[in-house]
């Protein structure tokens, strides 16, 4: 024993970038996706899909470009985020391609590939040009204004399948609400970071609840209420539920007031009950959730939820194998809202668990990033973005599996839907940027 180890902290190990790990994981992700693509062709037609090489090359090129830009611009970023996103996106393309084979007149995979490319391009742009996430804090009010604008626009477009959440032009349709959720997360994070002390410690005390002053809380509640109201008007209940959850979680993380959660849950319960019993569109979904087989007993054949449950059950433990399931029986939403049922049927409980764990890992890495960051805005933004992903997965997966009433939402990266996949890529880009800041050695440590 020598005396040199006295009181000085041990020198920090040199920070590790782990870009090599990311690259090898990306190779695995692309290989798994290509294998799935080939498996669909073999299972369905007993032939290799003619465009398997093209698909593999395309996905590989996206992955490689994204990796290069991360390596150059965010070298300390979490090495798991990008591979998980590529794997989920690749898997989504495989599932959509697989379902396309059942509906030769309605092919969605090529469009989805274009949107995925656009999403990856936005990812690259965000990682390349957003050098510091704190810049976003300055645009909080611009963000919220844009978000509200995007939410309101679809009111002027016709409803599709009961929900007025689309803007259609030319051959494309986009769902502005998808983009709005990122912008809203930015606003919430910025506002709460700036006012968290005022929210937590000022104002009057009412029983065990610390009421903040209206001046601080007012704008927040107003914006939140407005967005939820608009979504209810548009009958986009999934997204309104998502915004509600996002609001409560971010408020809780910022202030640490459990009372807010209680109030939030109470409000949510009242709102859900009111909407569930008054709105016919939602009411039918609640009834469907309570008894998915009612329409069978009534002689009208199985509804979507019953078909979805049948699909999951048909998969069992190991699944039927890609291309060998019958989830197309679910009907028109099989490629979008119900794509998880195809995963459940053809990949089984094992595959479904793997997918859930991929999402969980993505969310967990986001939370890890939030914990490691020092600035409140960055922390709140990381938690907000991860929560959006986590809530969305739970709400849609719980919906198609009959755990909670069904609300139309897109499974991140997996489901058909351009706006959704683009938004998810932007969110992953922001998480990459945040994790890069979180893991980057601090200047004072460099100086030592």
């Amino acid at each position: 024993m020598t005396a040199t180890t006295a009181d000085a902290p041990p020198p920090a190990p040199p920070p590790r970038k782990r870009r090599g790990v990311e690259l090898s994981l990306l190779v695995c992700a692309v290989l798994i996706s290509v294998f799935g693509y080939i498996s669909v062709g073999l299972g369905k037609n007993h032939t290799l899909p003619p465009d398997a090489a093209g698909y593999g090359a395309g996905l590989g090129a996206l992955a490689l470009l994204a990796h290069i830009v991360v390596r150059l611009r965010a070298p300390y970023a979490d090495p798991l985020l990008l591979p998980i996103a590529i794997l989920l996106n690749g898997l989504g393309l495989v599932l959509i391609y697989r379902l396309d084979l059942e509906t030769p007149n309605d092919r969605a995979a090529p469009t989805q590939l274009i949107w995925s490319t656009l999403g990856a391009a936005l990812f690259i742009a965000v990682v390349a040009f957003l050098r510091d996430h704190r810049v976003l804090q300055r645009y909080a009010y611009l963000s919220v204004a844009t978000a509200l604008g995007l939410l309101i626009v679809p009111i002027f477009f016709p409803a599709v399948n009961g929900a007025k959440i689309w803007i259609r032009f030319g051959g494309f349709s986009i769902q502005p609400g998808e983009f709005a959720k990122v912008l809203l997360a930015v606003f919430f994070a910025a506002y709460l970071a700036a006012n968290r002390n005022a929210l937590a410690h000022t104002g009057r005390r009412l029983w065990r609840l610390q009421l903040p002053t209206g001046r601080v809380l007012g704008p927040l509640v107003a914006i939140w209420a407005l967005s939820v109201l608009v979504l209810v008007l548009e009958r986009d209940l999934g997204t309104s539920l998502l915004f509600f959850g996002l609001f409560v979680i971010m408020l809780y993380v910022a202030t640490g007031r459990t009372g807010w959660i209680a109030v939030g849950l109470l409000l949510a319960a009242v709102g859900a009950f009111a909407v569930g019993s008054l709105e016919p569109h939602v009411h039918s979904r609640v009834e469907d959730w309570l008894d998915p087989f009612a329409s069978i007993d009534a002689g009208r054949g199985p509804g979507q939820l019953a078909q979805s449950l049948f699909a999951f059950a048909a998969g069992g433990m190991l699944g039927t194998g890609l291309g060998l399931g019958r989830s197309i029986l679910i009907g028109f939403a099989a490629k979008s809202d119900f794509i998880l049922a195809t995963a459940g049927e053809e990949l089984g409980l094992v595959g479904l668990t793997a997918i859930f764990l991929l999402y969980a890992l993505l969310v967990a890495r986001g939370f890890r990033t939030g914990l490691s960051l020092r600035d409140p805005f960055g922390r709140l933004l990381a938690i907000g973005l991860s929560s959006i992903l986590g809530l969305q997965v739970f709400v849609i997966a719980g919906g198609v599996m009959g755990l909670i009433p069904l609300t139309g939402m897109a499974m991140p990266f997996l489901a058909q839907g351009g706006s959704s996949v683009v938004t998810n890529w932007v969110m992953v880009a922001l998480l990459i940027r945040l994790s890069d800041s979180a893991r980057r050695p601090r200047p004072e440590e460099d100086a030592r």
Partner: protein
């Protein structure tokens, strides 16, 4: 803030757990009940996602498959549908399956575990093997001879190979094309409604599912019972049954169509179909011996499967003597399927040993490997060999010089028995014409075929209906086809 982030993370962990538990619940615990929910079309869709295996007659398929490109992809087609409908039944996407299509469904649809090279592997992958083949015992020329012999009249023909029990022909007429109801849609439902509504009941399988009063054809059973019980020891000796014969305990006299029946011998009574002698012999033999004998031929057995279920033929077990007298000549409540009467002829031809009738020779995998072969087995010893020999001689007499002369075939030994069964309220219905027979080639040691024919021709003049006139020529055509083959 760190603490709250950790708590939020824990909340998400809880959500993850809920999802995992719920998916395990659906995919493992509830999977079975969901798989079998009546609204779940997966079984149906995968059932029709591949071609159904063929049913073979003489090694050639009599069924086919059509790719509809619909969700229920492959639809059954039938070659010569009406001819083979009583054998194949139908396999309909709308109305299910019947007869062989039903009895051998697991082989044809590919679900039979025997079809999988490694059954356990198929369980894991939930795969379905290609449909197997079902080779029938039917001989195409005989089937055709029976079908053409009936020429659209209502009736049935069944031919059996006596020493094995193979069913060589199974004809029901009028028939229908099962292909009409193979698929789905209004055409199919319309065809179904029309077929079910027809007065002639084309979808009724008269050969195995319809029972008729067997009339005088039943006298073979009565004779076997009388000989086995010792009521008659010398078939050529006169009996003590006088004409007219008054039904015991009544004042009703039984008429004879034939002449010379007064105290006639058993041999004469069979040859010319004397009602009085046979009714009297039945009563003398007694109820229990008669029931025992009838049941040895297969009467009152509802468990006969060929492999499709065969309607039970009936011989009452509790009767007064006058009823027994009528039953002994195939009237009263006595009823028999055409298959049952073919079994009666077959038992006589085979020296008294009745073989279990069967329609499926063997099942094969799609690549031609045999999965299972139906073994020959004895149903029962229906009578003593000596009795059988005497009955053979008497049946030969019917054809050589009796009511069944129309069935004679050059160069072959043919034995037969006619029947004309009264039925309906006070026998007002058009009688059924029966003929049961067997034939043995001149150079062969054993009979090649036993056959039963019934014709229920509503349009014919009543007087023309007779087993010898209407049914015997059809039986002869079928037997000729058997001897040629």
């Amino acid at each position: 803030m760190t603490r709250y982030i950790r708590r939020t993370a824990a909340f998400f962990l809880l959500l993850l757990a809920a999802l995992l538990v719920n998916s395990a619940r659906i995919q493992v615990l509830d999977a079975d009940s969901l798989d079998h929910n009546q609204g779940n079309r997966r079984d149906t869709v995968s059932r029709y996602s591949q071609q159904r295996g063929p049913i073979l007659v003489g090694g050639k398929p009599v069924t086919g498959s059509r790719d509809t490109g619909q969700q229920l992809r492959y639809e059954r087609t039938y070659r010569q549908g009406p001819l083979y409908a009583p054998v194949t039944g139908y396999a309909s996407q709308t109305y299910g399956t019947t007869l062989l299509e039903n009895a051998e469904d697991s082989v044809l649809s590919g679900t039979d575990p025997m079809l999988a090279p490694f059954p356990f592997w198929n369980d894991i992958t939930r795969g379905r093997s290609p449909g197997g083949k079902v080779a029938t015992t039917i001989k195409a020329p005989m089937q055709r001879a029976g079908y053409e012999g009936l020429a659209g009249r209502r009736g049935a023909v069944v031919a059996i190979e006596p020493f094995s029990g193979r069913i060589l022909a199974l004809v029901s007429s009028p028939s229908y094309d099962p292909g009409l109801i193979s698929g789905t849609g209004t055409e199919v439902t319309d065809a179904w409604t029309r077929l079910n509504g027809e007065a002639a009941q084309p979808m009724l399988n008269r050969a195995i599912r319809q029972t008729y009063p067997p009339g005088s054809a039943f006298k073979i059973v009565t004779a076997a019972a009388a000989l086995d019980a010792g009521t008659v020891t010398d078939v050529e000796a006169p009996t003590d049954i006088a004409e007219p014969y008054v039904l015991p305990g009544t004042r009703t006299t039984l008429p004879n169509e034939a002449e010379g029946c007064d105290r006639a011998s058993l041999e004469y009574a069979i040859r010319w179909s004397c009602n009085t002698v046979m009714a009297g012999l039945g009563v003398e033999t007694g109820l229990s011996a008669m029931v025992k004998s009838a049941e040895k031929f297969g009467f009152n057995d509802s468990g006969i499967r060929i492999p499709s279920g065969v309607a039970a033929s009936n011989f009452d077990t509790r009767m007064s003597d006058d009823q027994l007298a009528l039953s002994s000549i195939g009237q009263f409540d006595t009823r028999a399927t055409p298959l049952q009467m073919a079994m009666v002829a077959s038992a006589v031809a085979n020296g008294g040993e009745l073989k279990y009738p069967f329609l499926v020779d063997r099942t094969l995998a799609s690549d031609g490997d045999t999965l299972a072969r139906t073994g020959e087995r004895t149903y029962r010893r229906a009578m003593n060999p000596l009795t059988a020999n005497r009955l053979r001689q008497m049946m030969i007499g019917v054809v050589e010089d009796g009511t069944g002369a129309n069935a004679a075939i050059d160069g072959a030994t043919v034995g037969g028995k006619t029947g004309t069964a009264q039925h309906g309220v006070s026998n007002s219905g058009t009688p059924y014409a029966w003929f049961i027979a067997w034939a043995q080639a001149g150079d062969s040691g054993r009979p090649a075929v036993a056959v039963a024919v019934v014709v229920e021709d509503a349009e014919a003049d009543r007087a023309d209906i007779s087993g010898g006139g209407d049914a015997a020529p059809i039986a002869r055509a079928v037997m000729e086809a058997a001897l040629d083959g």
